[in-house]
């Protein structure tokens, strides 16, 4: 297998939820490729479809008729070729989940089973995927706990989630996700519920583990500070669509989509030296709110909030994702004009 071949490729992913008010398109044709060892950040506001995208990859969304998933999710096979996860029977998908693709979640407290010891919960995946005995699996769980930096791992095997601190719980979640050496790890806002100092430790841990194992990571976040720290590439999502995709450095230096620019501008910064106190410093915000998925605006979904929007151009048709440079794609009709200004 060549290194250039992506480990995971998503093509035209669509997710629709049935609701009383009609079908809601949560994800509207997302495509991306994930290379081995790479970290791709999915960025966007709440409701942009980033979590739904990750759950669709894991096939953890409710079955039809509640939720319809379309498109292709191709996972590279060791012997070459790919396998479409969306076409797999549930049983075969169970063998992929937690083994080749695994996931960690935002809220480590509620994501751990409160009545099972954490050691059991880590060992479980190994027992199922590797057909290991309980004893072997628990020994492996001890090693995993040590790798994610839990002190006295052997003692911690019998602990319950409520015995652990928030950071430790997320470390346990990571140990659980890494139990079978996955090729792809999906991290859905893994640091959002944690203290800032703990956030940094968890990010550092994820980076270290990624270097050790060479796994690819899809990192979902709305925190651009975290993106700058961990991502190789960024996919910005808005209202269920990818609106910009670029290498992280490119994106931060030269955001083309006005929405990305707005997101970057809204990151709070300390006042410049010499500035007097906090006076006069205001957070830049993007005006308006995320559109109602039941009533998306015509044309570019972002045009009602966009300062660059041009009537007749931006509100007529959904713009295509255009190439704007090496590895840089943007969904905006006016990106050339905005970039030049």
């Amino acid at each position: 297998m060549t290194a250039a071949e992506p480990v995971l490729q998503v093509d035209g992913l669509r997710v629709r939820f049935a609701s009383d008010a009609g079908a809601v398109a949560a994800v509207n044709g997302i495509s991306f490729a994930l290379d081995r060892g790479e970290t791709l950040a999915l960025v966007g506001e709440s409701g942009s479809g980033k979590s739904v995208t990750s759950l669709a990859v894991m096939r953890l969304l409710p079955p039809p008729p509640v939720c319809e998933v379309g498109g292709r999710i191709s996972l590279a096979e060791a012997e070459g070729g790919v396998r479409d996860l969306l076409a797999l029977p549930e049983e075969a998908m169970c063998r992929v989940r937690g083994d080749r693709v695994s996931m960690i979640f935002q809220e480590p407290m509620t994501s751990l089973n409160p009545v099972l010891p954490v050691g059991e919960q880590i060992a479980e995946a190994i027992r199922f995927h590797r057909a290991a005995s309980r004893r072997v699996a628990l020994a492996a769980a001890t090693d995993l706990l040590e790798r994610v930096g839990i002190p006295e791992p052997r003692k911690r095997l019998g602990s319950y989630a409520h015995h652990l601190s928030g950071g430790q719980r997320q470390r346990v979640m990571i140990a659980m996700a890494l139990a079978c050496n996955p090729e792809v790890l999906i991290a859905d806002e893994p640091t959002t519920a944690l203290d800032v100092t703990v956030q940094a430790q968890i990010l550092e841990l994820l980076r270290r583990l990624q270097q050790e194992t060479g796994m690819a990571v899809i990192f979902i976040t709305h925190n651009l500070g975290v993106v700058a720290e961990i991502a190789d590439r960024v996919l910005v999502m808005y209202a269920g669509r990818a609106v910009e995709e670029a290498e992280v450095a490119t994106l931060f230096r030269r955001p083309l989509m006005p929405y990305t620019a707005g997101l970057l501008a809204s990151v709070p910064r300390l006042p410049e030296a010499g500035c007097k106190g906090r006076e006069g410093v205001r957070f830049a915000a993007i005006p308006g709110t995320v559109p109602d998925p039941l009533a998306l605006p015509s044309g570019c979904s972002f045009h009602p909030r966009c300062v660059h929007a041009k009537p007749g151009l931006c509100d007529s048709e959904v713009p295509d994702l255009e190439d704007a440079g090496p590895g840089h794609r943007v969904r905006c009709r006016r990106w050339r004009a905005i970039d030049g200004s």
Binding site: M58, L60, E90, E91, C94, R95, V96, R97, G98, D99, S102, M103, F105, E107, T110, S111, L112, N113, P114, V115, L116, E124, A125, F128, H129, Y160, H162, M173, M176, A177, A179
Partner: protein, 316 residues
């Protein structure tokens, strides 16, 4: 834990005492009395009745009667039945096994069937099965036990002749199978209400659990549906059911009263009803105290089990 047990013991004793006072008062306030049967005896005179009442201590003020009963009760002397002069404890002891047999088997039916219906209803929410279970539970809760018992007897004993219409076993045949055969109808009738209640609670408890994050985590690990449901979901969903089980005992005791009467089941419930009819105060008070003890005890056991089953709970 010790502190918790001591406190609960104190509360339980207070509760038992209240039950005894209220029970005693209500029983003596009810019109009629144990002497009623003597009034029909030919040649009975008012003076003779008065003498009997005096002998039985029934002419003394109620608080005194209560005190006399109470101080003997606490040391284990529960008195003798007015009807056949047997010790109350002996009377109850002779009837208790039949009641326990009925209650335990109907509870087993209720828990197994109710859990299964509840879990399946939650997993296949809004399916045909779920709708049928919902309607079925409503019907089961609305049917009076005595009527349902009679219908079961009419259909399965009278019309079809498959099941015996009552009694513990056929006289002269005390094989296990014969006992079990006699148990089917009354245990089902008594269990019906509990199946309905249990399946409804189970369904909502399970629905609550299967939408939680840790169930998603379990599925994200690739565990098959069966493991996700049994090991991760059911285990959590059963926790609140422990308390429900503790609360179900009074319903079951009340139901046993009716079921035993309908199926001529020689248990404690029927003894209780008969004794009330005769105003057999010592037996009625004895069964009342024993039932209260069972209810309070089962709630205490439920609390302790709760702490055993849920590592987050520590009793203090």
């Amino acid at each position: 834990m010790t502190g918790f047990l001591l406190r609960r013991l104190g509360q339980s004793l207070l509760l038992l005492w209240l039950v005894s006072v209220i029970g005693f008062a209500v029983l003596h306030l009810a019109p009629g009395g144990p002497l009623a049967e003597f009034t029909l005896t030919p040649g009975m005179t008012a003076a003779e009745l008065k003498r009997i009442a005096h002998q039985m201590g029934l002419d003394r003020p109620l608080p005194v009667q209560y005190w006399e009963w109470f101080r003997r009760m606490v040391v284990g002397n529960w008195g003798r039945s007015y009807r056949d002069n047997q010790p109350v404890l002996w009377e109850i002891g002779a009837r208790l096994p039949a009641t326990l047999e009925l209650m335990i088997s109907s509870t087993l039916i209720a828990v197994l069937l109710g859990t299964w219906i509840g879990v399946l209803g939650a997993v296949r929410r809004y399916s045909i099965f779920d709708s049928l279970a919902t309607v079925g539970a409503m019907i089961a809760l609305s049917i009076p036990t005595f009527w349902f018992g009679l219908v079961v007897i009419y259909i399965f004993s009278v019309l079809l002749g498959w099941l015996p219409p009552g009694n513990l076993h056929t006289t002269g045949n005390s094989s296990f199978l014969n006992y079990a055969w006699h148990l089917i109808a009354p245990a089902t009738v008594l269990g019906l209400v509990t199946v309905a209640i249990w399946s409804r609670y189970m369904r909502s408890s399970m629905l609550n659990v299967i939408n939680q994050d840790f169930v998603r985590t379990a599925r994200a690990k690739g565990l098959p549906q069966r493991v996700v449901l049994l090991r991760h979901s059911l285990r959590n969903a059963l926790l609140p059911m422990i308390a429900i089980a503790g609360l179900q005992l009074p319903t079951l005791l009340g139901g046993a009263l009716v079921t035993e009467t309908v199926f001529t089941w020689p248990g404690m419930g029927r003894l209780f009803l008969d004794s009330i009819g005769y105003r057999d105060y010592p037996v009625v008070m004895g069964i009342l105290m024993l039932s209260a003890l069972m209810v309070i005890g089962s709630n205490l056991v439920a609390d302790i089990l709760y702490a055993v089953a849920d590592p987050r709970i520590r009793l203090r």
